[in-house]
């Protein structure tokens, strides 16, 4: 077991190293001079040169790479080309907002997906199943920005139930402190993006749970439970559902990085000041240090998530043995 963890951990480190290297060179191998976007042509040529030096862009690529990796080892993500302030600061400020939107909606989606998926599998062949599977597939194929736009159009503009975006009403919380997150105003702003994101994320756990349940239902121990004369609900919740949860539980950590990446769209539509919106802005400005750091964060979340999922597997299912 210990050896397995060590080996997986080692693999994880290599994956991250390769990712970081790839990302560094990928952005710099794009055609054209990336600095042209950062260093405005409106600037005096000498001033352009000075800026290039300030960001270290005048050094050879390989040297830039080594400096980048060295700084990374000390959790220094560099200086944003755009704001000329440390990248880590900007990310810190935004990360919490993203987590507050993504995590609750993911959890809601998983709980909902698990229950609805189980029900649907239990009533296999019913109209209820056909309709739900259809709706879920449609939801998952619909672009999330489109869902978001529609939700804003209908619930915010037509019905005037929710604000069109942002995390709180402008001017309500001048101080940047925790009060904001404990206000009803915050919840009011959170509601619509939360619902849209939860609905969008719902499809995956729902379909997964359904197929997992379907294979569980055919197992002998379900038959046995029926023979014991247990009530249907008891068989469903205690025996079938519990045993079908395994794939769901293990995909949750894995999917976290993916969900944060997915927040790019939802945050842009709802003007939610999180990491996703920051990334969109940074990509638009070719602010490489900012883009790289946010991509790296997503990569780390995904890789670590996968690692956690692997560990969870063994924990949840004692039949699995590591060797």
């Amino acid at each position: 077991m210990g050896q397995f963890i060590f080996k997986r951990f080692w693999h994880m480190c290599i994956t991250l190293f390769v990712m970081t290297t790839l990302m560094f060179f990928m952005f710099r191998l794009l055609p054209g001079d990336p600095t042209a976007t950062v260093i405005s042509p409106a600037l005096y040529p000498k001033a352009q040169e000075a800026l290039r030096q300030q960001f270290g862009l005048d050094k050879p690529l390989l040297e830039q790479y080594f400096v980048y990796m060295k700084n990374l080892a000390f959790f220094d993500f560099g200086i944003s080309f755009h704001t000329t302030r440390p990248v880590s600061e900007a990310i810190q400020g935004r990360l919490l907002n993203t987590i507050l939107l993504v995590l609750p909606s993911m959890i809601a989606a998983y709980i909902m997906g698990a229950f609805v998926g189980a029900m649907v599998a239990w009533r296999r062949g019913s109209k209820f199943e056909t309709i739900l599977v259809l709706v879920a597939t449609a939801l998952q194929s619909a672009p999330v920005f489109w869902l978001g736009m529609l939700a804003i159009l209908y619930f915010s503009i037509q019905l005037d139930m929710f604000p069109v975006g942002h995390i709180v009403s402008p001017g309500m919380f001048p101080e940047a402190n925790w009060d904001m997150y404990f206000s009803t105003d915050f919840l009011h702003h959170l509601a619509l993006p939360f619902i849209v994101n939860a609905l969008y994320q719902f499809c995956f756990p729902f379909l997964l749970m359904r197929s997992s349940m379907l294979s569980t239902i055919g197992e002998d121990y379900i038959e046995l439970a029926r023979m014991k004369g247990l009530r249907e609900n008891r068989i469903l919740y205690r025996h079938a559902m519990r045993n079908s949860l395994l794939p769901l539980a293990t995909t949750l950590p894995m999917i976290l990085g993916w969900a944060v990446a997915g927040s790019v769209v939802i945050e842009t539509v709802f003007s939610w000041p999180g990491l996703g919106l920051l990334m969109v802005e940074a990509v638009g400005r070719a602010d490489y240090p900012m883009v790289q750091a946010s991509f790296l964060l997503i990569a780390v979340l995904t890789v670590v998530g996968t690692f956690v999922a692997d560990m969870l597997y063994g924990l949840l299912d004692p039949r699995i043995v590591y060797n």
Binding site: G32, T37, P41, D160
Partner: protein, 535 residues
Amino acid sequence: MFKRISVIAGLLASTATMAYAEGDKVKEIDFLTWPAAKYQHYYETSNYIAEGWRKLGLEVKLNPAPFPSPMLSMWFKEHKFDVVLSVLSGAPYRMEPDFFTNAQFNSAHGKPGDWNVGEFSDSEVDELGLKQLGIYDTKKRLDVVLDLQKALYRSQPEAIVASVIVTTGINKEMVEIPNYEPAPDGLRSIWNLMQMKSLNEKAVLLGQTIDQATFNPLAANTAEDFINLSLIYDRLIELGADGKPKNRLASAINVIDETTIEVDVRSGHSFSDGKPVGVEDVKFSFDYFKESESAYFKKYLDRVESVEIIDADTVRFKLTKAYAPFILHTLGQIFILPKHVWENVVKDTGISKPQEYRNQNPIGSGPYSLKYWKEGQEIYLAKRDDHFLKPASDLLYVIFGSAEIVGSALKKGEISVSLQPLVPTVVKEFAQEPGLKLFRAKSNGYIAARYNVGREVFKDQALRQALAYAIPYDKIIEEVLGGDAVRSASQIVPINGFWHNSDLKLPDYNIEKARKMLKDAGYTWDSEGMLRKPE
């Protein structure tokens, strides 16, 4: 469509038979343009231009490159194009007549990274361009600037398509603007922001999609950053909505001679921390911007040799060379910083240069002071009642994730002002709304097809002149730009009324005329109808 093609083919064939001696075929034109997906109207504009030119027997290949990278680099640094769809945005300081003329087309500015991206060179343009730089008297300078525009019109370094109209709006129930000034930057103009009066007890809520990058004036280099900085920090001169300089912190400007300018500084004014603004702060600011080599300001301070304090109200600027744009470009852009705050910033905070200072709590003498800035969300500017410009209300900028939503927020009353340009489809709908008021601002920037004279195809002036008549201007304005554009024959567009040369005749869309011009210049057409160079 087919009929039209056959008519054109017929025309081409008839001229081709008339040609007796043929020069080399004109090379295929590499037209650098914007990506169609994100900048559809720019791409379509270039597409319509190419269509027009093809009717003259030219081969035109559109080369859309992703923006900003690598397009900006191909455009400004590598000059990798025969012609580029140049979109130069308007800005208050670009009302200074030098910017769209001499700065763009003087042959001395053709190096990579500078403005003359087409490596254009014309002796008359160079000469007039340099001449106007040395004349401070606006009336006398005007004559030269008018001639300069004429020379540019003659030599056609680019085909000017149109200058766009930007529509923004306010919610009348929440805010009023008593005397809207028709400035090229519309509601973003300091003269309009200052008038915005909130009709409720809250601040004026202004929606936009761009956040401030920095409140450090030495580190800033985007137009959006400068707008807010100019509300917090005063400048000696402020550009009026009509393009003429107005005194701001200065009470008088006296041009002593070509290289000596004296400025009287307004007395009795103070910074937001209560300390008085004096001539020491003025001298300090100019010296400080120059010494710290602030990237954006460097070129405007290059010709400043020294700044001296003459008496308690007067500062004297010595220039190395006569420089007429000094008033608007230098006095009108350098922010006056409080000496007592900045002189020890580097020493006290341990940073290596002033550009690194965060300036989270900027202290300026401007009409507003920064109450708070929540990055990516809100910027709150509180008005200062003791300021001579008398701002009407507090301003609260609200940052949105996408432009589409800003319009909806305005209509719904979640914001009072949309600084974000409204899209044409929304404009029609919003114009009907009784609660909204729309403003159409004519930009002082413009869209043009800029030729690269450094490459072979467009070296010939006659070809450039003829091509101006082969662009379907009206079609572009109506079909691509939604009717929201104004044509101009000069780089200094009509909104810049004082400097604009209105005598120049707008080229019309006239293929026959263009063909005749080419023929007169010795061009011929081969049997396939393709254009051939004069022998």
